[in-house]
């Protein structure tokens, strides 16, 4: 069964991940990736760090299900998600999604679908630390709208 999910504290090396993902599979014509990074600005307060909590067990299960849906819907050759948890600093990588297909349209759509579903269905929660204290990040309406369009 293609599709792999990793939840980890450590940073990841996109180059190594992509190399491993692509290698020796010459039926792949298109690889799309998405990397989410911690931004230093959010709601106009300076974010000094961020902590990501998750629901161990359910996180892996929900991401695996999202990948399987994407693989079936777009006939992907493979797909992968890496998501970090714990404390992160501005500029740090949070999430990495990659999809491989024979054609670029499938790779792009599936990658965006996975991110949209991850944003609304995978049990992660962000807490931002700023000079004025910490606060849980609110879910954004635009993320629900983004996920809705795939139905």
């Amino acid at each position: 069964m293609p599709g792999s999910v990793r939840i980890q504290h450590e940073d990841f090396d996109i180059g190594a991940e992509i190399r491993h993902f692509q290698q020796s599979r010459t039926e792949i014509g298109a690889v799309a990736t998405f990397t989410g990074l911690v931004r230093d600005l959010n709601l106009s307060d300076k974010v000094s760090s961020m902590t990501l909590e998750h629901y161990p067990g359910m996180t892996e299960k929900s991401l695996q299900e999202i990948l399987e849906q994407a693989i079936e819907r777009w006939q992907l050759i493979d797909a992968m998600v890496i998501h970090r948890v714990g404390k992160l600093l501005p500029g740090d990588q949070i999430v990495f999604v990659t999809t491989a297909s024979a054609h670029r349209g499938d790779a792009f759509s599936a990658c965006e679908f996975i991110m949209d579903y991850l944003k609304t269905q995978a049990p992660f929660w962000k807490k931002e630390e700023t000079a004025s204290g910490s606060r849980w990040v609110d879910a954004r309406e635009t993320d629900s709208d983004a996920a809705e369009r795939w139905k």
């Binding site: 299960k61 049990p123 929660w125």
Partner: protein, 81 residues
């Protein structure tokens, strides 16, 4: 017995991450009503219309029917990625 888990803002507000209760609730809604009767902060925190529910690691709803041995989780809307 059912295991109940709370995450993120909910866990902080309730001062509780996990507990076990005797089963015997027809629906998750019945369970929530019982928990709210503990008074504050349970009453306000669990009244949030955006409360999300998972049963055994799968998204559920207030209508879901918990069985003995189930793990039920409550959490706010997710914000990963």
């Amino acid at each position: 017995m059912i295991r109940i888990c709370y995450f993120a803002r909910l866990a902080e507000e309730l001062g509780c991450r996990e507990e076990e209760l005797d089963s015997g609730f027809d629906t998750v809604r019945d369970l929530v009503e019982m928990l709210k009767q503990r008074g504050e902060p349970w009453q306000s925190t669990l009244s949030d219309g955006k409360l999300m529910v998972a049963l055994n690691h799968t998204m559920g709803s207030l209508d879901s029917q918990p069985a003995d041995g189930d793990e039920i989780a409550f959490f706010p809307p997710v914000t990963g990625g």
